[in-house]
């Protein structure tokens, strides 16, 4: 179908990142108070990203209080990164987006038999970050792999959500939603042992459970894009 009312496309923005270095709320609040008073215009309505990478043992309450603090002072936390899985539900509840980890340039691999050292060219290729999950994904849970593939070596229940920039593999039943190629990569695929999904999507093209042919139901399949069309194929019928 042709879309006339909107264009949906990917774009890049730069947001200030608040890197949290302590779980001590008092000192965090005090410092933020000082910083915001130094540049009130910068912080007012500012979209922010909270970075949890450097924190250990952060709790659900901590996250809630930090977000609450920022919001009541007119700042606008949009998302988090480096957040442990245990906070996922709270992140969701607070309507925050989960953003990818900081991109680190790939380390050059020095080969032993190389007698001459090779100058490294800074890599433009973003680091691939695959995500593995070995427990059943439950209704209401959301797993994301924003820099690579998402592999689930278990089933994903109805009402769960799997989201990946790359491919999605489910070595069990896929009963929830699977959204692959969220960055717009049309070459991504979804693979599963048993297809019973509520929704599958690749690079924005989606199909609902109702529109999936019954002959694929509970079968091992792969799903991919052919032109603008989402194709489902039995794994047993792959050439």
């Amino acid at each position: 179908m042709e879309y006339k009312t909107t264009n949906i496309k990917a774009d890049k923005f730069t947001f200030p990142v608040v890197e949290l270095l302590t779980t001590e709320l008092e000192s965090f609040f005090n410092e933020m108070d000082i910083r915001t008073s130094q540049a009130p215009a910068f912080f007012l309505n500012a979209p922010l990203v909270l970075d949890f990478t450097k924190l250990e043992g952060n709790s659900v309450t901590f996250l809630e209080l930090v977000v609450d603090y920022l919001r009541t002072r007119g700042m606008n936390p949009l998302g988090v990164r480096g957040c442990p899985l245990t906070l996922a539900e709270k992140v969701d509840e607070l309507k925050l987006a989960v953003l990818p980890e900081e991109r680190k340039p790939r380390k050059p691999v020095a080969r032993k038999d190389d007698s001459i050292s090779i100058k490294t060219i800074p890599s433009e290729v973003p680091a691939v970050h695959n995500v593995f999950h070995t427990r059943t994904v439950r209704s209401g849970q959301k797993l994301t792999a924003m820099d690579g593939d998402l592999t689930v070596v278990a089933s994903a229940g109805a009402g769960s959500e799997l989201i990946a920039a790359g491919n999605i593999h489910v070595y069990g039943a896929l009963r929830g939603r699977a959204i692959a190629g969220v960055g717009g990569d049309k070459s991504c695929r979804i693979f599963c042992q048993k297809l019973d999904a509520e929704l599958v999507s690749i690079a924005g093209t989606y199909r609902l459970s109702d529109d999936i042919d019954d002959r694929f139901r509970r079968q091992p399949v792969q799903i991919f894009l052919e032109g603008e069309q989402l194709q489902v194929q039995l794994l047993s019928e792959t050439p």
Binding site: R135, T136, R138, S139, G140, G157, G159
Partner: protein, 269 residues
């Protein structure tokens, strides 16, 4: 140190309280010091099923608010020696269950009892979260219908994110499935989910299947957990449930329709 087991479901009215009462009674009868706590503040029920409603003086919330100590609020069962009940308050709401208060009481109970059974209220809010918060193990109670199974799946997700074990990265909570109100003929006819469907969907260990049985209602009317009714199918299924939990390897009974005897068949019954 005792084990904390939450009995939970998400969906309401599936048999959590019935299961908590019988499971706790069974553990105590097998010789384990057991306490069962009613987390359903505002809709107190467990005391009725346990037949101790007339002996409630202080409750869970009184202890949290330090208006009574634990020993004053605990009720010793009159029939089963090692069994105690901590009743819920009927006049408060679930917000009265503070994290700090619940944590203190659970820790105190773990010192005294082998098993602390937490009868969760329905839903996914404060009361249910507090009931599961400190659990070591969980019994998921499910009826053979799609909505109940879906809610159980949601609760399983919460067990792996909202509990202290999950937040501190401890060993995952041990999860058991109890299917209640199972009706073989309705499962056979496809009206209800089959046992295979449910275990396939939830992918946790099946501890017991409790058949739909009128004896559950009569048991609650006389205030004696159905496990005490040794003649009833539901009572026997709960008995198996407890033994299986304690390590006995028993086959699941009551999955098929009762076989008709020769006389029944001759008489066309």
């Amino acid at each position: 140190m005792g084990k904390v087991i939450v009995v939970t479901s998400g969906k309401g009215g599936v048999g959590k309280t019935t299961t908590s009462a019988s499971f706790a009674t069974g553990l105590a009868a097998q010789g384990h010091e057991t306490v069962v706590i009613d987390f359903d503040v505002g809709l107190r029920n467990l005391d009725l099923i346990m037949g101790c409603e007339r002996r409630v003086v202080y409750d869970f919330v009184n202890v949290i608010n330090k208006e009574a100590n634990l020993n004053q609020a605990l009720i010793r069962d009159k029939r089963v020696e090692k069994l105690s009940i901590l009743p819920a308050s009927q006049t408060r709401d679930k917000e009265a269950l503070t994290e700090e208060g619940v944590s203190g009481i659970i820790n105190e109970l773990k010192e005294k009892f082998d098993y602390v059974i937490c009868d969760s209220p329905a839903g996914i809010e404060q009361g249910a979260v507090m009931a599961m918060r400190f659990a070591d193990e969980a019994i998921i109670v499910t009826n053979p219908e799609v909505s109940s199974v879906r809610d159980s799946d949601r609760i399983l997700g919460m067990l792996s994110s909202k509990t202290v074990r999950a937040e501190t990265g401890g060993e995952p909570i041990k999860e058991y499935l109890v299917i209640t109100r199972f009706n073989p003929s309705r499962a056979d006819s496809g009206e209800m989910l089959s046992i295979e469907d449910i275990t396939d969907l939830l992918a946790i260990r099946l501890l017991a299947v409790i058949p739909e049985s009128e004896s559950v209602l009569s048991a609650s009317n006389i205030g004696a957990p159905v496990i005490m009714d040794k003649d009833s199918r539901a009572g026997q299924a709960y008995e198996d449930c407890v033994k299986r939990y304690l390590g006995e390897d028993l086959p699941h009974r009551f999955l098929a329709l009762p076989k008709k005897g020769l006389i029944d068949r001759l008489l066309g019954r």
